[in-house]
Symmetry: C3
Subunit: 108 residues, 3 copies
Amino acid sequence: MRLVIAVVQDKDSGRLAAELVKRGYRATKLASTGGFLKAGNTTFLIGVENDQVDNVVDCIRHSCRAREQVVTPFAPVGNVEAVMPAPIAVQVGGATVFVLDVEHFEHF
Amino acid sequence: MRLVIAVVQDKDSGRLAAELVKRGYRATKLASTGGFLKAGNTTFLIGVENDQVDNVVDCIRHSCRAREQVVTPFAPVGNVEAVMPAPIAVQVGGATVFVLDVEHFEHF
Amino acid sequence: MRLVIAVVQDKDSGRLAAELVKRGYRATKLASTGGFLKAGNTTFLIGVENDQVDNVVDCIRHSCRAREQVVTPFAPVGNVEAVMPAPIAVQVGGATVFVLDVEHFEHF
Ligand SMILES: Nc1ncnc2c1ncn2[C@@H]1O[C@@H]2COP(=O)(O)O[C@H]3[C@@H](O)[C@H](n4cnc5c(N)ncnc54)O[C@@H]3COP(=O)(O)O[C@H]2[C@H]1O
Ligand SMILES: Nc1ncnc2c1ncn2[C@@H]1O[C@@H]2COP(=O)(O)O[C@H]3[C@@H](O)[C@H](n4cnc5c(N)ncnc54)O[C@@H]3COP(=O)(O)O[C@H]2[C@H]1O
Ligand SMILES: Nc1ncnc2c1ncn2[C@@H]1O[C@@H]2COP(=O)(O)O[C@H]3[C@@H](O)[C@H](n4cnc5c(N)ncnc54)O[C@@H]3COP(=O)(O)O[C@H]2[C@H]1O
């Protein structure tokens, strides 16, 4: 058994959940936040048999896409004369995926 | 050290948290959502010594129970003539439990 | 690759997120609740190369501090004559840290 932990953009989370159900994979979703952009994203927990990991990663790859987000960095605090920094474009990936080994699994 | 990750129904999460405290186990709770029913549930993170895993799983088994949930599948969109699909009963288990090995633990 | 899971106090989570960004570490934050005090706290997921684990733990140690919280235990229900229990002081640690091995990592 493996536990796949995947951080994806909120925009793709509905499509990914539907795709996993279609292929018969079970999953749990957690609301999360990115450490850098502080924007909301979604963390999936997906427990699967070892031989299904590649299919699940494939499913994530098809449902989640990279996007560019434009953000305005925080203006330096206190210096009202300071010019607002120019917005910058940050490339956010489709998914960040960790596959962990599960020592023991139970469902009751 | 092992990390027990348990997805349980919201209805049982208070009882499980109280039972864990009573038996001296430490835990952290995360609000989560089921991938299939999209209903709220609770994900517990419980770090325990290796020889306590069976007791913790036992604790989960006593506090969490399977239930039947009746859901109405989404009606096919756009076709107003379509008959609302009949509600279906879905059996939701008491808990889904993953036990992971912890390479290193710190508390300060 | 290792996945560092750290449960920290809400008061320290902004400082820790900023410190991780400064040192170039990527992280995801999850809102969580303590099993005992039922107060809000923050669970960080931090995926790092194996040789960076000590630096990340160091980063957590510098950003997160232990504090004393005063709580009033629940009064015994129903017995209005009962005297409100005296408030007790509970020492809450700076961080509880689990380091897990990652079998496979992908980012796309
Ligand atoms: N220190 C830094 N300097 C410059 N640019 C930076 C940076 N940290 C992040 N970025 C950029 O900002 C995007 C959003 O990061 P955020 O931390 O908000 O949101 C992240 C975070 O929630 C999660 N994530 C990525 N790598 C992670 C890791 N190693 N551990 C835990 N979570 C991770 O996935 C989300 C998307 O990450 P992704 O790498 O695709 O996209 C990242 C990356 O392109
Ligand atoms: N593709 C599908 N086709 C038909 N029926 C399906 C189905 N997926 C789920 N179900 C049924 O619906 C119940 C609720 O699933 P849900 O995904 O909302 O909520 C799940 C999910 O949040 C979590 N979970 C279960 N297995 C998991 C896994 N392998 N990985 C991650 N989370 C899992 O535990 C909750 C309860 O799961 P449980 O299996 O007891 O109960 C499941 C199962 O009986
Ligand atoms: N049964 C009990 N009897 C007496 N005192 C108790 C107790 N359980 C917890 N405490 C005390 O209360 C503090 C807050 O615990 P809480 O469960 O709300 O919040 C916890 C919990 O969310 C998490 N945590 C700690 N150990 C954990 C573990 N082994 N597994 C999962 N989460 C853990 O870290 C937070 C801070 O924990 P920390 O140990 O520093 O601080 C703990 C501890 O000093």
